[in-house]
């Protein structure tokens, strides 16, 4: 499997979706070539590889393109069978891992973006929405993490990856927004879990410089606030 494998990841350094794939590849120790896409000027290749959505991330493995980050994660786990697994081997645990990854994806991504894009009362409302969903995850993780069998299941899998890609940049969130998503007093389990996740080598390797993340978050926030003020 090793020598002939050509793996290319088309991504964007600040995209949490692309980040998931980076984290997975790093964690599995899979060598890959990275292509940084300019989302305002997407490459011909990206448009060819993902004609349906025209989005990052796209993984190209020996010329075959796969889109959709969660689909890519499962593909990676099924194709590179050596080393740590991204999904539990037990079928019920797998279903739970998929459930919680989906939940974070569906209920928390847009909700947290909204906090970045708004201010005042609208932002307060958005924050409450996020906290409501985080309560559910805090509860869910109590059993999900407790029931993990450390000898058969890795402590860094798809749920960690999805959570980390979104909430990993917590220092930048705090600096730009003046608030935390994962408030330690409200979400003690999620907080300690996140603190452990960001120490994982694969995560450290994929963490951009703080100033760069702050910069893009500021940009994203300012342009969103400007366009909603103009509207």
């Amino acid at each position: 499997m090793a020598e002939q494998d050509k793996v290319i990841l088309h991504g964007m350094w600040a995209s949490p979706y692309a980040k998931r794939v980076e984290l997975a590849l790093n964690f599995k120790g899979i060598p890959y070539e990275y292509v940084e896409e300019d989302l305002r000027n997407k490459s011909e290749l990206l448009l060819k590889y993902n004609p349906v959505h025209k989005k990052v991330p796209v993984l190209v493995h020996n010329g075959k393109a796969i889109a959709e980050s969660m689909v890519i994660l499962e593909y990676i786990d099924e194709t590179w069978k050596d080393g740590p697994k991204l999904l539990p081997s037990d079928s019920y645990r797998r279903a739970q891992a998929r459930f919680w990854s989906s939940f974070i994806q569906d209920q928390l991504m847009e909700a947290s973006f909204l906090v970045v894009k708004t201010d005042g009362e609208a932002q307060q409302k958005a924050v409450e929405q996020v906290y409501e969903k985080l309560n559910v995850v805090e509860d869910g993780m109590k059993s999900y993490l407790a029931e993990r069998n450390a000898s058969t299941e890795s402590n860094f899998g798809i749920v960690e990856i999805v959570f980390c890609a979104l909430f990993g940049p917590y220092k930048a969130h705090e600096e730009v927004l003046g608030m935390k998503f994962i408030v330690p007093e409200k979400f003690p389990l999620l907080f300690s879990w996140l603190m452990a996740i960001v120490e994982v080598e694969a995560v450290k390797k994929a963490t951009p410089p703080h100033e760069k993340t702050v910069g893009i978050l500021q940009l994203f926030r300012q342009s969103a606030l400007k366009s909603s003020a103009a509207a």
Binding site: K64, Y75, T79, A95, R98, F103, V136
Partner: protein, 223 residues
Amino acid sequence: MAEVKLHGFWYSPFTLRVVWTLKLKGIPYQNIEEDRYNKSPQLLQLNPVHKKTPVLVHNEKPLCESMLIVEYIDEIWPHNSVLPADPYERALARFWVKYAEDEMFSAFVAFFRSNNDEEREKNVEKVWEVLTVVENQCFGDEKKIFGGDIINIVDIAFGSLFKFLEVAQDIVEAKVLEDEKFPHLHSWYNNFKDVPVVKENLPDHEKMVAFIRVIREKLLASS
């Protein structure tokens, strides 16, 4: 003997996905019909996060989210597999399942909820956009159904939503599944409905229309 229970709605495309998968594999199960306006305490306990059907209970452990359930069933009972064996083919199949869950579902539901001519026109366009993507991207070889010989996860995900769309057409009184516009889709869907496990496990169309019409009325009245 493993105990399998399914909490669902006879008229729900999501429940149907699980029914087809269980029947395809000959898995005996206890069917528990839920009332969407009066969900059982068991259901709320089994799916506290979403409080929705379908919920599969296997050896007293609950599973939710229809396509997650389908993949779980396929792992535990691998015969008559609904997933391609090759990881790349599998990734393509999962890609289209996600497309069904995101783009297809939202377009079909918006169409279903259309409450006036303007909305309906706009939502028909949205549905056509989605159907055009599928028509153009999903049909290359001469397979009758996506799974070849046996329905696979793409057939299951698409087929259930298409049944819902068929019902919605009658309720909203607008035709979207035009054969001339979408020839491949049209023949795939007919093939799909002809597959024995689907044919034998599809609720009566008129019954579905009548029942779902009432749900829609209540939905629109409360919004």
